[in-house]
Structures are given as structure tokens and as C-alpha cells.
């Protein structure tokens, strides 16, 4: 029974694939390329400005990230980021603005469930995994670096 269901499911998936209009993947990639590239250019613009004020690379890059994060938060609050995101696809997910959006959106949505277990907990819905696995990866890098140099 289970097998048969699986088979039917597979055939159905195949039918769906054939019936779908020609794969939009190329179009999606173009959109992601231009929107993602544009966000990086905004970052480059900010970077160049801060460079003229003589900031060192690390604090300059940090400031650029903070500004982009703030802008994305604001756009998310206004409800625009999800609209932009529908067009941009990965172009709005992969830049640091996408991280900011994924922190802000659940915070706003779950505010009604309270400031502690609503906003406070759900703010880490995506940030939590990113911080967890990023930290784990950094520890691995740190230990290997300690022994290998």
C-alpha cells in the first residue's frame, strides 16, 4: 500500500513537472543576480564613503552591515521587504539584509503572543539556527587552526 502510494506520488510529481510552464529557474537566477548585486553595490557605496573618513577595514565593514541590517528591518516593518522578496528570490535572502528580515519578520508577527515567549522567543526562529551552526563551525575552525596553525 505504502509502496503504491509512493509510486503514485512519484508519477504525480512527474506529471506536475511536465505540466508546469517552462522552468522559471533561469529567470529567477537573473532576478537574484541583479537584485543581490544591487544590494552589494549599496554596501560598496557605504564602504567607499566610510573609507574616505579613514575607518579601518573591520569597523568599516561592521558599520556597513549594521546600516544594511537596520534598513532591512525598517523595510520589513513597513511590509515592503516581503514584496521586494517575492521578485528578488534569493537576491533578497542571501545578503545580510535577508538575515535581518528573518529576524525582524517573526518578531513582529509574534508580538501578539507576548513580549517574552512571543517576540522574545520567535525573534530567534532563524537567527538561532544561524548563530548555533555558525558558532559550531567557528569552534571547529578555531580548534583546527590551533593545532595546524
Amino acid at each position: 500500500m505504502n509502496n503504491k502510494e509512493n509510486k503514485n506520488n512519484k508519477e504525480y510529481q512527474k506529471l506536475v513537472k511536465e505540466a508546469s510552464p517552462d522552468s522559471p529557474i533561469f529567470k529567477n537566477c537573473l532576478k537574484a543576480f541583479f537584485s543581490g548585486g544591487l544590494i552589494c553595490c549599496i554596501g560598496q557605496f557605504l564602504m567607499n564613503i566610510f573609507s574616505t573618513y579613514g575607518l579601518v577595514a573591520d569597523s568599516r565593514n561592521m558599520l556597513v552591515s549594521v546600516i544594511l541590517i537596520g534598513l532591512a528591518s525598517l523595510l520589513t516593518g513597513l511590509g515592503w521587504y516581503s514584496k521586494i522578496g517575492k521578485f528578488c528570490g534569493a537576491g533578497s535572502v542571501v545578503p545580510i539584509t535577508g538575515f535581518s528580515n528573518s529576524v525582524t519578520a517573526p518578531a513582529i508577527e509574534y508580538k501578539k503572543e507576548g513580549f517574552v515567549l512571543g517576540l522574545g522567543a520567535k525573534i530567534f526562529t532563524v537567527a538561532g539556527p544561524v548563530i548555533l551552526y555558525g558558532t559550531l563551525a567557528s569552534i571547529v575552525v578555531g580548534i583546527i587552526y590551533y593545532f595546524v596553525g
Binding site: 525582524t104 563551525a137 580548534i143
Partner: protein
């Protein structure tokens, strides 16, 4: 010229993400995790910094750049404090980004109402 490099490299990294979304049905949360971890590992090998030197914001603004920051931080702390640096370096270097993200998110949540879908 630096704008062209930032545009092409940053756009290219986003195309990788788009291909993963379209081909593997990975959710965007998984893409975020994957890219940060990848950036951290590439940063550990010292490769990502070469991309940063070449593309500037095109490499630092996408999420692998955030992962690279973790790797750079952990290496600097190991250099300074030895083995314990492996525990403290990552979050230390990422603290600016994480703090900004949660503070702005909190402010936005206080100010804005959820949008009806």
C-alpha cells in the same frame, strides 16, 4: 570598477542560493545556515579573504561574509589567547551583526503592527 566587482560577485553568490532554492527545495532558513557555515569554513582555510580583497562588499555583504567574519574572529582570538580563543572568537566577532539584527528587530516589532496577509 569596485562596483562592477561587487555587483558580479555578490550577484553570483545570490545565484548560487537561487539554484539551491529552485533545485533542492531548501527553505531560505536552511540556505542562511548553509551559507554562513560555508563562509566560516572557507574563511578558516583563508580562501574567503581573497574573495573579499577582490570583490569588497560583493563578498562581505552576502551571508558567507558573515561566516567568514566568524572564522577571522576565531583565528585572531586563538592567536591572542591560545586554545580558549576557539570558544570566544566566533561570537565576539559576530556580536556587532547579531546585536544590530536583534535590536533593530525589537524596535521594529514595537513600532510596527503585523501586516494582514
Amino acid at each position: 570598477m569596485d562596483y562592477i566587482k561587487a555587483f558580479v560577485v555578490g550577484g553570483g553568490i545570490c545565484v548560487l542560493g537561487q539554484i539551491l532554492i529552485d533545485k533542492t527545495k531548501l527553505t531560505s532558513a536552511r540556505i542562511l545556515v548553509l551559507f554562513v557555515v560555508l563562509g566560516c569554513l572557507l574563511g578558516g582555510l583563508g580562501w574567503y579573504d581573497k574573495l573579499v580583497d577582490f570583490a569588497g562588499a560583493g563578498a562581505t555583504v552576502p551571508l558567507p561574509g558573515f561566516g567568514n567574519l566568524l572564522a577571522k574572529g576565531v583565528k585572531a582570538e586563538v592567536d591572542r589567547y591560545g586554545f580558549s580563543g576557539a570558544l570566544t572568537g566566533g561570537l565576539k566577532s559576530a556580536s556587532g551583526g547579531i546585536t544590530a539584527a536583534i535590536v533593530f528587530a525589537f524596535l521594529a516589532a514595537v513600532i510596527f503592527k503585523p501586516k494582514e496577509k
